[in-house]
Symmetry: C2
DNA sequence: CATGGTTTTTGACCTATATCAAACGTATTT
DNA sequence: AAATACGTTTGATATAGGTCAAAAACCATG
């Protein structure tokens, strides 16, 4: 594990709005987020954007670029952030020597595939309220896993970015927040979210 | 590469409708499709299904299960098919000795992530006509890569399965096929598709 | 701390797709 | 070959979410 540390010794900081990488750039390294918050997005030629994910500390970014050695999306800092660069060829070399590292890498890639499946499910067969509930519960769970409150957090992204991620227009996102608030499920003050009724919010997404 | 052959020596056949694996089953092997056609799907507890992909010969299935050692979706044969089983722990062992195999595995996993990004884009920000056009062009490209006609092929899946994959109802899929036919873009006779105007179909999905 | 720009909320109205329903085709079984 | 089940097409109607617009809240900057 010392060797792994050596691998990830290159650190860099990004100001809010800065690009970690852009679609089309040559791929060399994965990036581990140490602090901060990122989004990844794909841009259509006609200007439409699709946010493909929001990443927080401990998560790995850039896996999509392995297959062609070219980044297939943009990664943008949503707040001032710090990342570790992981040169991919060195990671591959090292993982040939460390089976546990190899296994770990495979699990990370597989987890990304499972995450994407979840988003397909969300975009393909959920209604607006279910999508937003699923989104908030996912954030809640990830904040919680990092030692933060599962019920009270600050949204780093705009309504338009949430909408793009969820396949909804920003107005629909805003209205759905308002509905949830009216029904006592949560309190929202713009970017500040407090979940009042986790149970009921959960029943929204998987209404058995 | 001889060693790889030894790895994939376990072959099995499946009749149409049979399950290669089911959600929740223990994961041990990846599967390479030799002949035939599969779909993968996730089922909600409330009965809604989401088709997450259609797989054809040469493609690898089961990558989602690596992260938890449990399959997270069903894989169902859409026609009589033959697959190669690839025991995953042996694949990992072998890929530690063969850097080119290691690289190949990583590229395959990454390609799956990129594929999923494309579906997110499709589900999140395209209209019905664009979705179906993108779907048909994707099939066209994949048939073509396997030496079959890019313009004339047989659909192995039902309208309902296409709809589930594209986040549309089967009636919408059917109507959109009819529209395309009325506009001279293609001829459809139920499962038999003939693309008459590839160029115009392309301009549908990436209308610059 | 005033200013200009962005983001969010809310309302009124519209449209793409869903829903419901019926007829029709196509496969499978007997 | 008839019977039955399943998949597809098409029409009429409903609705969730999109669009357009304006006001309000927020926030960065000089």
């Amino acid at each position: 594990m010392l060797q792994l540390d050596a691998l990830t010794s290159l650190k860099r900081t990004f100001r809010r709005g800065e690009y970690l990488y852009r679609c089309g750039e040559h791929f060399q390294s994965l990036f581990a987020i140490r602090t901060g918050f990122f989004k990844t997005q794909v841009l259509h030629e006609d200007g439409r954007e699709q946010v493909t994910g929001f990443q927080m500390p401990g998560e790995i970014i850039g896996l999509d670029a392995i297959c062609t050695d070219v980044h297939t999306c943009d990664a943008v800092a949503l707040e001032d952030s710090e990342i570790c660069e992981i040169p991919f060829d060195r990671l591959e070399t090292l993982s040939r020597e460390l089976p546990s590292l190899q296994r770990h890498l495979h699990k990370i890639m597989s987890r990304e595939i499972v995450r994407d499946q979840g988003i397909m499910m969300l975009l393909g067969s959920m209604r607006a309220e279910e999508r937003l509930a699923a989104f908030l519960l996912n954030l809640s769970q990830r904040f919680s896993a990092r030692g933060y409150s599962p019920t009270s957090f600050y949204l780093r992204m705009t309504r338009q970015e949430i909408g793009s991620y969820l396949g909804l227009k920003l107005e629909t996102v805003s209205r759905t927040f308002s509905h949830f608030q009216e029904h006592g499920l949560l309190n929202v003050r713009v970017r500040e979210v407090e979940i009042m009724d986790l149970i009921r919010l959960r029943s929204f997404v998987s209404h058995t």
